[in-house]
């Protein structure tokens, strides 16, 4: 008979290297979902032990104690106690420690022991500790703590071999001895006593070198310097946005020509008619125009994951705390807001690190103003069609500069909105505390980064294959039916449902310089921002035939005035057009009201910004 699936749970403080251990154990065999009822990300992976035992391992949210002061930490507590709904009690808890920094983990482990779950202490990053002259007596530690201790180097091949063997040894003897759970929330006195006990054990088992990690101190001398640090931060952000625009270009062109060729192939091999039009204009040019942006999404996630792995993100929060505090934001809001540059959805989910409700709400409300990667397709399309690709001052690409300006506009307006919220709505309250560990710098781990980027890219492609695909089918349908009467001379789209809808909305959008084609594209764009690009492609392709589909940028350049293009850019800084973001806001705030507030205020800002941009541009002669 085959042994049942062994359930492991990874517990540890933030920065303990839990996630890289998880990645090392499971590779790409991971499943990311949510815990039922809450929006805490549930990461489960699978592997097989040397003796062939099937193992499932869950990476629990990082925590310093089992008190559960945020939804994430509650999950960790409930999971370990076997109280999480729909989850089985873990057979074995792996308490993961950064070997260079055992103090807080040992205290957590002493608390975890009271739950009575079978447990192993994993001394991760053991190589780094050894290199720094930190000497951990693992055998003695195991004796003092009363739990097995195993060392691991998650980033090295074979670095988890001992852990795998131990898992086999332990799983053989499990089941027999159910332990009592004597855990209850610790009072201040017990907490202090536990920390003392932990410090005593560490004093017995660990010898520290006389000098601390000099690299971290040297880097921090610059990176946390009040002035130089901010310059470094600005430089990092600037390089990031230039990279998103410039480095991705060759790959994007490659993908673009690939999809063009595919469209050509379909055009040539199928008889003219509805099926040919559906495949070429609906599916290939629609979905293709979104997938083209995969390189940019990979680059932005690569930057964010690298900075996080390196240990820089906490520093950025430190630098920005008081500056953001002026706008009514918490320093911890910096990380969610920075993630929102990739996508507002993980950004809004990351606001769970902010434990004050009001600070969290403010951050959620402004997160969608950060320029997410879904806006990149729209910006790129319009910028490359209307802004000349020349250099200013010899070295800065003008298109990149406009892109940077759009990002800056998003940030500035987010800060303004936050300031107004603080001023009008949440006037009198003491600012919530800012307490954050600044981990020692570590070389980013390529495998871990690769798995992270891969997971995100897969999510993006999945979206392109489902949401965006179905929207494209809808748009193609609206733009193709009803068919024009026999003998009609105008383009077919003039007779379609899309034209009827677009022309009905167009008067509302005329003051901001949008034509009915844009109105049509904005409707499916409600599902996801980048769909608007594909929708414009479809609308103009069906209107203008094959040539138009090939170079949608060139078509726009002839059909739109510069004022309309600028107005469209201004619209997209604010546009609340992302159904998934709105859904996440509803889930995270637990209220339809805040979702409606977000939608309304962003729509008002979008309309106002476009109105001003369009009219100023027309007045300056760009109409």
């Amino acid at each position: 008979m085959e042994a049942p699936l062994l359930h492991l749970a990874l517990v540890g403080t933030p920065n303990s290297g839990k996630t890289s251990l998880f990645n090392a154990l499971t590779g790409s065999r991971q499943k990311v979902a949510n815990y039922p009822g809450v929006t805490v990300e549930r990461k489960e992976g699978f592997f097989v032990t040397p003796l062939g035992r099937q193992v499932s391992v869950v990476d629990l949210p990082g925590t310093y104690s089992l008190r559960g002061r945020s939804p994430d930490e509650e999950i960790t507590r409930d999971f370990v106690l076997g109280k999480a709904s729909g989850e089985s009690v873990p057979d074995l808890v792996l308490c993961v420690a950064d070997s260079t920094n055992l103090r807080l983990t040992i205290r957590l482990l002493l608390e975890l022991k009271r739950t009575g779950r079978p447990m192993v202490l994993v001394l991760n990053m053991f190589d780094i500790a050894a290199r720094r002259g930190i000497n951990v007596d693992a055998e003695r530690l195991a004796k003092e703590l009363g739990v097995p201790v195993v060392t691991s180097i998650a980033v090295r091949k074979g670095g988890t071999a001992d852990l795998l063997t131990l898992t086999d040894d332990i799983s053989a003897g499990l089941a027999a001895e159910p332990q009592e759970n004597s855990w209850r929330a610790l009072g201040v006195g017990e907490l202090r006593a536990t920390q003392r006990e932990a410090d005593r054990i560490i004093a017995d088992c660990v010898s520290l070198p006389s000098r601390p990690d000099t690299w971290t101190a040297r880097i921090d001398a610059v990176v946390l310097h009040p002035v130089a640090g901010l310059l470094v931060l600005a430089l990092i952000l600037f390089v990031m946005f230039q990279a998103v625009f410039a480095w991705a270009q060759p790959l994007m062109q490659l993908l673009n020509s690939g999809f063009d060729a595919l469209g050509e192939f379909v055009h040539a091999s199928l008889p003219a008619g509805l099926l040919q039009s559906f495949l070429q204009n609906g599916v290939i040019s629609g979905v293709g125009s979104v997938i083209v942006f995969l390189p940019q999404i990979i680059i932005i996630f690569l930057f964010i994951l690298l900075l996080e792995d390196f240990g820089y993100m906490a520093r950025a929060a430190f630098l920005m705390d008081r500056i953001m505090g002026g706008a009514g934001l918490h320093g911890r809001a910096f990380i969610p807001l920075l993630s929102s540059f990739a996508c507002a959805i993980p950004g809004i989910m990351a606001t769970r690190v902010i434990d004050n409700k009001r600070d969290r709400l403010t951050t959620i409300l402004i997160a969608p103003l950060m320029t997410c990667s879904a806006r990149i397709p729209v910006y790129t399309l319009i910028i490359s069609a209307f802004i000349p690709a020349r250099d200013v001052w010899g070295f800065i690409n003008l298109q990149g500069l406009v892109m940077f300006g759009l990002y800056a506009a998003g940030i500035v307006s987010a800060l303004l909105v936050s300031f107004l919220i603080k001023f009008f709505m949440l006037r009198d309250y003491a600012p919530a505390p800012f307490m954050l560990e600044l981990p020692d710098y570590k070389m980013p781990r390529p495998k871990s980064i690769a798995i992270g980027v891969y997971t995100r890219a897969k999510m993006f492609l999945h979206r392109a294959g489902t949401t965006i695909f179905s929207m494209m089918v809808l748009i193609w349908f609206l733009a193709s039916f009803p068919q024009p009467p026999a003998g009609a001379t105008e383009p077919a789209i003039e007779f379609s449902l899309a034209a009827i809808i677009g022309k009905a909305i167009a008067p509302l959008l005329a003051p901001v310089g949008f034509n009915w084609q844009i109105a049509v594209a904005l409707i499916p764009g409600m599902a996801a921002r980048e769909v608007a690009v594909a929708a414009l492609g479809t609308v103009y392709a069906i209107e203008g035939g094959k040539e138009a589909a090939e170079q949608i940028g060139q078509v726009l350049a002839t059909k739109w005035s510069l004022a309309t293009a600028l107005s469209m850019l201004a619209w997209y800084i604010f546009a609340p057009q992302c159904a998934s973001t709105l859904a996440v806001i509803r889930r995270e705030t637990g209220s339809w009201t805040w979702m409606a507030v977000t939608f309304t205020y962003m729509l008002v800002l979008a309309y106002a910004a476009s109105l001003v941009t369009y009219n100023v541009a027309v007045a300056l002669g760009a109409g």
Binding site: R103, D321, P431
Partner: protein, 91 residues
């Protein structure tokens, strides 16, 4: 170093300058004026390693109002605002 600590006056860490180094004497959450309750603030400080006897050193200060501060607590670094650091009495 220990004998200087005995003679040094006690002060809240929240008032310490960059470069200050000392030993935690006790925690006094009620004097901090934090948004957190006394018990919550004290628990969190302990969870981050601020316990009696730990050696602390102020490594860095922020730009605006020299706030927040980065504090070395034994062998880890914690960022904390001066307001909360007022609860940590050092000498």
């Amino acid at each position: 170093m220990t004998d200087t600590n005995e003679t040094r006056p006690q002060m809240p860490l929240g008032l310490a300058q960059r470069g200050y180094s000392g030993i935690i004497q006790h925690l006094s959450a009620k004097d901090a004026g934090s948004a957190l309750s006394d018990i919550e603030l004290e628990s969190r400080l302990i969870e981050l390693g601020f316990v009696e006897g730990a050696r602390v050193e102020v490594l860095h200060e922020g730009l605006v109002g020299r706030d927040p501060i980065a504090v070395r607590v034994d062998n880890i670094t914690i960022a904390v605002r001066r307001r909360e650091a007022m609860a940590i009495i050092v000498a």
